[in-house]
Symmetry: C2
Subunit: 340 residues, 2 copies
């Protein structure tokens, strides 16, 4: 296969471990997982489903922190190596565009994406029901909330790391007001991050396998590659004892990202280790962020494990893109016109 | 009480009947209801939940036509008196913005609203699930579909009849993928009818009564009055044998229509007549359109009855606004900030 490259910045100080011999799939775990353990800071019971980004030579994290009263909020954290984290005890203080305090009632599953020099935090917020919340920061000190992009009910908002055809582009997973026994990924555009439209269907749950038969949802911000936008996502299957969350990978068209180019029929990571199998919610791997280096093609995937821990897994752009192409399947509606 | 006036055009030829003596509430039925009966045209089993508008001295209707294969589509109709209707046998032929045929898979519960000389048709469409569809026409001959304003799942899209603060304003009722056992009314704005945002919560289900305890949804386009935007809507209660749909009335702030000024604690019309109680879906009154005359303050409300017929009911702006103000209650969250 021809060389596949990441289109983006280099990131020399990102975490990395070579693939252990005998690894079955295209993704391998960090040897010292989980990188964030239970009770990681005062008042915080668990951290998982969280975002990390490079910032001024270090790494900033926006963490889903399950506080000891059971409600999730967003907390900031810092790290020099993106593996050992110092978590702030106070939750992120959001303000509205006039500078007045404006805290969400709850906040979970954050993604942080840098577009044109601004860091956007996208999370699941309470807007008379689960909806996508958004805020921006330049300095990880002041966090200004933006208009909620969509009506409820929605989760798993994922922003692309650059404008496409002049517009911001966001993926989301329309849902219901509960635990949502269904769900496909849609795409929306905005010229100004205030008004959103041109909604398109991107990916359906389903396929020949069962691991993504109940619902799917976007993961980390898509990574631009020479083959298209590489996105890790989560797929959910149902069992007699509840849901199981695995990680899949898909490649979207670079110019028309509502079009699926390749989509692996198989999961690329599924709960197998103790910290993925056992915790507050058993059997969950839930990717929310990556760090990646355009020079080497290395990718570190940050994922929530069992709604309790943060795990890191590795791959290279060459290995994962080859795998997705080799195991690609066409899922009903993925080739649809996007709008009906 | 001071005089309440409709702000708008006069409409001398609209249907009208004076209030019968002994009428209990502020709304009374047309004496010869239903105005559209079963099997009103070849291939159409039932017409209900439909829209009418004045057009060039006559009246145009966009009808929810349940075809004899059980799937709903939109059909055009014409009338001189807005009571006797001639329904077209062919469904409305929608095209996309390039002029290519672009039919929805199904279409139901249309509203038609004239804004700045253009007629907008808003309906529930299939966008990988129930969502708001939109089209425009100038002449009721060419119907051009527009971008779906919102992601699924959503129903009961209702456009305001003029821009407010420079933007189109639409109400909708986010829902789930099924029969939706919940639902509040939200408002969204758009500068261009392509991108929508500034979503706000308007009204909650609930209140002290039970008639709107399960869900609510917008009705006809709001009527601008000297007291605010008068809107009829539907409220739903649950029984051991299914849902019951009644009609309520609310007055929204003229400049900030996400703010409820007055909201009647009581329904203003509920299934009582045979054609409302019995049909394809028993016990439904579902308002979708009004005709109104600014000169006299007369209002004719078009409502679907039992998912089978079209009924007409009357009131005056003075009578209904007085009633809503006198019976107003504050429902939890209606006075909220609209965005969380």
């Amino acid at each position: 296969m021809t060389e596949v490259r990441i289109i983006g910045d280099k990131l020399t100080n990102m975490p990395w471990q070579e693939k252990p011999s005998g690894t079955a799939g295209p993704v391998w775990r960090h040897s010292n997982n989980p990188v964030i353990q239970r009770n990681p800071a005062k008042g915080i019971a668990r951290i998982f489903n969280s975002a990390v980004v490079p910032f001024e030579g270090r790494f900033a994290g926006v963490f889903r922190a399950e506080t000891i009263n059971g409600r999730p909020h967003l907390h900031l954290g810092w790290s020099d190596d993106a593996l050992n984290w110092s978590i702030e005890e106070e939750r992120i203080a959001f303000v509205d565009e006039a500078g007045k305090p404006f805290q969400p009632n709850y906040a979970y599953d954050p993604r942080v994406i840098k577009v044109d020099g601004t860091y956007y935090i996208i999370w699941c917020t309470d807007f008379y029901g689960a909806a996508i919340g958004a805020a921006k920061t330049q300095d990880f000190k002041t966090f200004v909330r933006l208009e909620n992009p969509f009506l409820p009910f929605n989760r798993n908002g994922v922003l692309f790391p650059r404008k496409i055809n002049g517009n911001y582009v966001m993926l989301s997973r329309p849902s219901d007001s509960g635990h949502t026994p269904f769900g496909d990924v849609f795409l929306s555009e905005s010229p100004d991050f205030v008004y959103w439209g041109k909604h398109r269907h991107v990916m359906s749950k389903g396929g020949q396998g069962w691991w993504q038969s109940v619902k799917i949802g976007g993961g980390p911000a898509p990574i631009e590659t020479t083959e298209g936008w590489l996105m890790f996502y989560h797929g959910v299957t149902g069992t007699c004892n509840g849901l199981v969350y695995s990680m899949g990978a898909v490649i979207l068209d670079r110019d028309e990202p509502s079009k699926v180019k390749y989509r692996s029929a198989n999961y690329v990571l599924t709960p197998e280790e103790w910290y993925e199998e056992l915790g507050f919610v058993n059997n969950v791997v839930f990717p929310c962020a990556t760090l990646h280096d355009a020079e080497t093609g290395r990718i570190a995937i940050y994922y929530g494990a069992a709604d309790t821990y943060v795990g890191v897994a590795y791959t290279t752009v060459q290995e994962i893109v080859e795998y997705v192409k080799e195991t690609s399947e066409e899922v009903a509606d993925d080739a649809g016109i996007g709008m009906m």
